[in-house]
């Protein structure tokens, strides 16, 4: 799927993705030549068609997590299907800009963020936490708050998780 700016004859770049939460999708592409923007809007069935492939319009911001498709799609997932490592809640990811992992500082989760995370169904919680961690690393975020979780969820298309 490519978008071509007919004025400039340039392929448009992915700019932004939004999932309003009603099953629809909005993806913005921008022409690198003239700056013109366009939004591709899909209805729930069209969104589902693409997400069923396990692909992302605009590409991936963070690496795919193991069993991301089934965990994000299955209705009635078993609460204890996945056993997180014993120290899962204290496991953190290095922050961006640190080239030596040994020097990497931990990602701090505020109590409010931990509380928010604890409301995520266990079936997907471990995966969701890793996705937030990967996003934080990409963004150079050192402290995860509920507001940043909202931002990450929208940017990454994690509605419903």
């Amino acid at each position: 799927m490519k978008f071509l700016c007919l004025e400039c004859d340039e392929a448009m770049d992915f700019a932004e993705r939004q999932l309003p939460g009603d099953g629809t999708l909005a993806v913005v592409f921008k022409c690198p030549g003239c700056g013109r923007e366009m939004a591709m809007l899909t209805n729930p069935m069209e969104t589902q068609l693409v997400s069923s492939l396990g692909v992302k319009i605009g590409g991936r911001d963070v690496p795919a997590q193991p069993m991301e498709l089934v965990r994000g799609s299955l209705e009635g997932g078993r609460e204890d299907a996945f056993q997180e490592p014993a120290n899962a809640l204290s496991q953190d990811v290095p922050v961006a800009g640190v080239t030596n992992p040994a020097d990497a500082g931990p990602l701090v989760w505020t109590p409010e963020a931990v509380d928010r995370l604890s409301n995520v169904p266990k079936f997907v919680r471990g995966m969701v936490k890793r996705i937030y961690g990967e996003w934080a690393r990409e963004q150079g975020v050192a402290e995860m708050t509920p507001e940043l979780m909202d931002q990450a969820r929208t940017e990454l298309g994690m509605e419903g998780m």
Binding site: M1, K2, F3, L4, L6, D9, E10, A11, M12, D13, F14, G23, V27, F29, P44, M45, Q48, L49, V50, S52, L53, G54, V55, K56, I57, G58, G59, R60, Q65, P66, M67, E68, L69, V70, G72, S73, L74, E75, G76, G77, R78, E79, D80, A81, F82, Q83, E84, P85, A88, F123, G126, M127, R130, G160
Partner: protein, 301 residues
């Protein structure tokens, strides 16, 4: 009419190329299975021929011979392999490198939809729009099967068995994911209707160039527990005829034994519980043929 550049003429990537992302997924699948010696599909095309029970017993039999074995239940809508290999209710280890599968009978590593669903009487359902399921459901379930193969930390295995559900389309689905499938065992019964359907599956795997193909005839005869008299369950010798017509070897003829299904359904494959039963002996011999074919394949590489 103005000239608009075609997709192929536009070289610039927007990160939205779906085919390229799917190809990447298949590359990750191949990388995951690079530590697996031989992938064996246990298929039929026909339902009710005993594929899952044979898969469970074959997995246990291979493990009893000292091989490292994994088993994937590709029947997402009617999973049974988890129960048969004794992993019901077990959890999967969650790690960024892959999901750790539970180990069941004889240490067989198992992945099944049964491990993910919260209730055994819940039909498989997806969080998705109700309208137009026919447009995406098969695609999604193929993606989930890909994850069962690619996202499980199988580790070093000698054999990974895949229990393929009924329907020749399900065999095609697996071949799309595993174009270099090592072995296919096609399970049939001696009945003419089974022969008819399995012949289609046989043609599919042959045309796909699967390295080794063997036929398995299940429920070939019944031995009376009182007098020992043996009688055929089916009048037709469909399996033998299919083997003769296709030139594909009949690797095993497994006699009907009610204990095979009963024991396996309880998570105790009969080969482990009663290895001297006639059906167990046939499956153990099948395991030896599978292993010998894998060894022969390894020797030619």
């Amino acid at each position: 009419m103005r000239k608009i550049r075609t997709y192929k003429e536009v070289q610039h990537s927007t990160g939205s190329e779906i085919l390229e992302q799917v190809v990447d997924q298949l590359g990750q699948l191949a990388a995951r299975l690079s530590t697996v010696g031989t992938v064996v599909a246990v298929a039929s095309g026909k339902g009710g021929v005993g594929k899952s029970a044979i898969t469970a017993n074959l997995a246990a039999a291979l493990a009893m011979r000292g091989h490292r074995v994994g088993a994937v239940d590709a029947d997402l809508n009617g999973p049974s392999l988890g129960r048969m290999l004794g992993v019901s209710g077990m959890s999967l280890g969650d790690s960024p490198d892959g999901v750790e599968p539970p180990q069941g009978v004889q240490g067989v590593r198992v992945m099944s939809m049964e491990l993910l669903q919260d209730a055994e009487d819940t039909p498989l359902g997806w969080r998705a729009p109700d309208f137009g399921k026919f447009t995406w459901r098969s695609t999604l379930e193929t993606g989930v099967l890909r994850e069962f193969l690619a996202d499980v930390a199988w580790g070093e295995l000698d054999f990974l068995l895949v229990d393929v559900p009924p329907g020749t389309d399900k065999i095609e689905r697996l071949l799309e994911l595993l174009p270099d499938l090592d072995q296919a065992l096609l399970v049939t019964t001696p009945s003419e209707s089974a022969r008819f359907v399995v012949s289609k599956s046989l043609r599919l795997v042959q045309e796909a160039g699967v390295g080794v193909v063997g036929l398995v005839a299940n429920m070939t005869e019944h031995e009376c527990s009182q007098c020992g008299h043996r009688s055929s369950l089916f009048e037709s010798g469909g399996a033998e005829r299919l083997a003769a017509e296709s030139g594909v070897p009949l690797w095993a003829s497994i006699p009907f034994d009610p204990r095979l299904g009963a024991s396996t359904d309880l998570g105790e494959p009969l080969v482990t519980k009663e290895p001297d039963a006639a059906s167990s002996r046939a499956i153990l011999a099948l395991a030896d043929r599978v292993a010998a074919a894998a060894q022969a394949g390894a020797n030619t590489q």
